[in-house]
């Protein structure tokens, strides 16, 4: 089982690295959206610093949302997804591998680029720890929950807008606690409470959503 998990994980990472531009796109989108805000709100450091937690988190949400579709769509198109569902390996572990690989490709780059964006928006450097910790715990939840949405809208034409309708309401708790962490860190308040709640949600998402995703995949592919 572990071997199947690892081979799927490696395969997805490899596939992503064969399309380097696609790899960079979510990150680019993240940077672009965030640099729109100073243009829209004006270059005032006080305002930017105040809205920075929300802006970064909303941008992370949207970046994840846009990159979600490639989680299953290509495999669905070329039939390899069907083979995975038919294989004798535990489907849950295969789906888990795909989601984790997807997070490494789309979520992890956001983390790497986040300090730069914090700099853009004038977040003080002592708040970077909170920002990175909240993104590290929060963005995997987005991938896990989003996987259900992708699986449900797999066979549909124009599934993209529908996907955001289904998934965004479910992202709200992550948004609240994620911005909560960054906001507290910005004001040098303790933020371990919100961080622990994010961690709890991650554990819950990691254990439950693969089951729902497998079920949704079986419905969509059948």
């Amino acid at each position: 089982m572990m071997q199947a998990f690892l081979s799927i994980f490696k395969r997805d990472i490899l596939l992503a690295f064969r399309h380097r531009s696609e790899l960079a796109n979510p990150m680019l989108f993240f940077v672009l959206v965030i640099s729109l805000f100073p243009l829209a709100l004006g270059p005032y450091p006080e305002i930017l610093q105040q809205v920075a937690p929300g802006v970064i988190w909303v941008a992370a949400l949207l970046a994840t949302l846009l990159s979600l579709e490639r989680l299953f769509r290509e495999d669905f198109m070329d039939g390899s997804l069907e083979q995975m569902l038919l294989s004798h390996h535990s489907t849950v572990s295969l789906v888990l591998a795909k989601i984790l690989a997807h997070w490494c490709i789309t979520g992890l780059p956001l983390l790497i680029i986040a300090p730069l964006l914090a700099l853009f928006l004038g977040l003080p450097s002592f708040s970077w720890g909170g920002l990175l910790a909240s993104l590290a715990l929060g963005t995997p939840i987005l991938s896990f929950v989003g996987a259900i949405g992708v699986a449900l809208t797999l066979g549909l034409h124009r599934g993209g807008i529908l996907l955001s309708l289904l998934v965004l309401p479910l992202y709200i708790p992550v948004l609240i606690f994620g911005t909560g962490v960054v906001d507290a860190a910005r004001m040098q308040l303790p933020f371990s409470g919100q961080l622990l709640l994010l961690a709890a949600m991650l554990v819950l998402a990691m254990t439950l959503t693969p089951l729902a995703t497998v079920m949704a995949l079986r419905i969509s592919v059948a």
Binding site: I148, L152, T153, G155, L156, R158, G159, L162, L165, L166, L168, P169, L170, I172, P173, I176, F177, G180, L197, M201, L208, T209, A212, M215, A216, I219, S220, A222
Partner: protein
Amino acid sequence: MWSWLTKLASPKRFYDLAMAWIPWLLGLAIILLIIGTYKGLVDSPPDYQQGESVRIMYVHVPAAFLSMTIYVIMAWMALVGLVWRVKLAYMWAKSCASIGAVFTFLALVTGALWGKPMWGTWWVWDARLTSELILLFLYLGGIALRQAIDDRNTGDKASAVLALVGVVNIPIIHYSVQWWNTLHQGATISRLGKPLIDASMLSPLLIMIVAFFLVFLVAVLMQVNNEILERESHTSWVKQLLGMKLSNDR
């Protein structure tokens, strides 16, 4: 008990039973609505703080209560459909989705109407209002998913999965939204503990809640029956039934 339940899962039997029940439930709902409205608008005292506008409560609270109850019923039906493959349960889930969305919308609108005189604004980003809004989004997402899928069986199952995901998420959303300090008053009726509301206001409120629930039941039974006729239109009993109706009309 089980044989009774499995019999009820047969569309024909359910159709007949629902048809027999609908007039009674509707009559009871109308009577209770009249009593509740009279007691709420005329017979109950104005609030010492909120004055006459407290009477919006008699519509707002039942609607909000139902908006959440219907979601739970929908999720339960989705589970029954997925686990035991009862086709009637999917019809229930589908009917619950649209009716639930209407009640959620009603709760939001009456809440806004109540908020204007009380808080001086139509809308505030307070915890309960926000979770109610998210609930509306969840309903609408489910309806949109079902409409996007052409195949009826796939649509049933996909929206059932979504309903179950939603029902697990609702408490999380609710409590996370409560993170903010809230303008909205806390829950007034709790099943444990003594209610914080005076009996003169509680009784019309409870009557209205029951009346609204009956209205929901009537609406859902009618919609499920429609759904049965549509989905079972290939069966002989539906053809016979519709044929009879057609010949009566002529």
